[in-house]
């Protein structure tokens, strides 16, 4: 064995060891919680209407947030990827702010704008949408904290589309709209889909911003917190396990679809 091999090998060994520690740190709590749960209690919990309602609401509200984010975020992502304007860097930076602010603070900020004391909240109230202690509040809380994932991913996708493909499309008779829907969007689709999945997943896991705006109706993370606070660990655990299993199943399933498409 040469000395060089040995030194590289020592480094690789160290890195494997360090990597293993952080990997176990992620996996062990999740696995332990799942495998030490009593299947009987899990089943009972699943049959509890309150639990099922909370899980369903979580998935549904996160999906709504993703749909709203998709509709409003994709055009912005396209603009950021394909045009240059003064203040672009600032806009890009501000879009990522929801990732760094404490989510309870984000919830309070949203409450100020969408509560009925501010005109935005008033306008929505006028058309029949209230945010405080309502599903709409859950949706905007999830939207606020998870939209950066979709915009950033879609932006990277659009950046990879060769501008000349769009130019050729125009010369062949396509309007800017047709070019967007037939060329740019399909070519960036994989990044957009990956971003949407990330956004949805991030929405499902949101807690801080949601409880400020809408403690009720209760989403699954709120329910877990509530049961932990009121009844303790044993009672909150089955709900947490169910949510983890569900999230993992959905996440792995969607990722498989995305990656299988990539190979084909």
């Amino acid at each position: 064995m040469s000395k060089k091999w040995f030194t590289t090998n020592k480094m690789t060994l160290t890195f494997i060891l360090l990597g293993l520690i952080i990997f176990l740190f992620i996996i062990v709590p999740l696995v332990k919680m799942v495998v030490t749960s009593d299947p009987q209690i899990l089943l009972e919990t699943l049959l509890d209407p309150e639990v099922r309602g909370a899980i369903w609401l979580t998935l549904y509200a996160a999906l709504l947030a993703t749909i709203v984010g998709f509709t409003l975020g994709i055009p912005l992502a396209y603009l950021l990827a394909h045009t240059d304007f003064t203040g672009k860097k600032l806009v890009e930076g501000l879009i990522d702010v929801p990732i760094v602010v404490p989510h309870t603070a984000a919830g309070i900020a949203l409450l100020f704008v969408f509560g009925r004391n501010f005109f935005v909240g008033k306008v929505f109230h006028f058309i029949g949408i209230d945010f405080v202690d309502a599903t709409a509040g859950i949706v905007i809380a999830m939207l606020f904290v998870s939209i950066p994932f979709l915009i950033d991913s879609a932006k990277e996708g659009f950046k990879k589309v060769d501008v000349r493909l769009e130019k050729v499309s125009r010369t062949l008779g396509a309007s800017p709209w047709q070019t967007f829907f037939r060329i740019s969007f399909p070519l960036a689709w994989r990044s957009i889909l990956a971003g949407s999945i990330m956004m949805w997943a991030r929405g499902i896991s949101e807690f801080g911003a949601v409880i400020i705006l809408a403690y009720h109706p209760m989403i699954a993370p709120t329910l877990i917190f509530e049961r932990f606070e009121t009844y303790g660990l044993d009672y909150s655990r089955p709900v947490a396990v169910l949510l983890i299993i569900l999230c993992l199943a959905v996440f792995i399933g969607l990722r498989t679809i995305v990656y299988r498409g990539e190979k084909a």
């Binding site: 499309s169 008779g173 396509a174």
Partner: protein, 348 residues
């Protein structure tokens, strides 16, 4: 057909200005210029894909300077072909026809006609990333032709191809043009490509048009040092390639016959690079089949190298190093022999 009047286009680090060009109906027009001269931007301005700062572009008597690209009916083939990677060859070709809401039968008819014209019928169900460079080129051309454009723009269409493919595609471009009579503007940095294809050439450099003329005018009478630099680098002749009794090929021009190695026959151009020509005081007995006697009638000193013009006639430009120039005692009006291999002659 197309008239460009006093066009000014601003790029990031330089600008094109005072561009005046006139391209006639059915003409094969070549814009020749070094890399980075703004050739692609000029094409994109004509297509409406690049904003024009000032000046006018007229198409068949109508001003189109501000018209959207989708309403100009001018198609473009880019150097790297820019095929839509998510669509099949067939879907690429009919992209423009589908947008025109043509009925299925008409689309199929156009598709079959183009596939036959360019010999790509067997590729229709493939995806672009499975095609060779030459095949992609043909698909890009078919897609551009599908909309029956008023003008076809070709952006360095041959540069991305390997030399063998290039010769074939070059002939195909000219044949397609002659058959369909589509006004074509082709940009390139390759002088020989320009000579071989063009009815007229515009030389673009230093942000403006340096000279416009027929290929003969450009390489016989360059009007500036810039244009001359393009032309001077090579010995270019117009003539005819024919078979000799022994089966080899000869190129006849201006009263001399050159042995060449080429499969082409008929009227073509021939070029020899100055550095491929040997100069000697006595005839050389070598495998090189072209050897002629002539008089040095011009010497251009470039420092470490010198360009000698040897008149046979015609004139041949030869490159020698200062060292051999001095060792051989070469001088103007001296009688010398020039020798070069048949394979050193490029027929195009």
């Amino acid at each position: 057909m197309i008239q460009i009047k006093n066009l000014r286009v601003e790029l990031e680090d330089f600008l094109l200005q005072g561009i005046n060009l006139h391209v006639a109906e059915e003409e094969y027009f070549v814009v020749l210029g070094p890399t980075g001269a703004g050739k692609t931007v000029l094409l994109e301005s004509i297509a409406g894909l690049y904003p024009v700062k000032s000046g006018e572009i007229w198409l068949r008597g109508r001003e189109v300077t501000q018209l959207e690209p989708e309403r100009r009916n001018i198609s473009i083939v880019y150097q790297d072909h820019a095929l839509f990677p998510h669509l099949t060859v067939k879907e690429n070709i009919v992209f423009g026809l589908r947008l025109r809401k043509q009925i299925g039968q008409e689309i199929d008819k156009s598709l079959n006609w183009l596939a036959e014209l360019l010999g790509i019928a067997h590729l229709l169900d493939r995806k672009p990333d499975t095609l060779s460079g030459g095949e992609r080129q043909k698909v890009a051309l078919a897609r551009a032709l599908s909309i029956k454009p008023q003008v076809l723009l070709l952006d360095e269409p041959l540069s991305a191809l390997d030399p063998e493919t290039r010769e074939g595609v070059q002939q195909e471009l000219r044949q397609v043009h002659d058959r369909l009579k589509i006004t074509t503007i082709h940009v390139t940095h390759d002088f020989e490509e320009a000579i071989a294809l063009a009815d007229h050439i515009a030389v673009l450099g230093e942000g403006c048009v340096k000279q416009v003329g027929t290929p003969e005018q450009i390489f016989r009478q360059p009007n500036s040092e810039f244009v001359a630099r393009f032309a001077m680098a090579r010995n270019i002749f117009t003539g005819e390639v024919a078979d000799r009794d022994d089966g080899s090929a000869i190129f006849r021009t201006d009263g001399i016959e050159l042995a060449v190695a080429s499969e082409l026959r008929g009227k073509w151009h021939a070029s020899v690079r100055p550095e491929d020509i040997l100069i000697s005081h006595q005839p050389l007995h070598s495998s090189a089949r072209n050897s002629f006697c002539g008089i040095i009638n011009h010497v251009m000193d470039k420092g470490s190298t010198l360009y000698l013009t040897v008149n046979l006639p015609p004139d041949f430009t030869c490159l020698v190093t200062r060292r051999s120039f001095e060792e051989m005692g070469l001088a103007k009006n001296q009688r010398v022999y020039i020798t070069f291999k048949a394979s050193a002659i490029h027929i195009f």
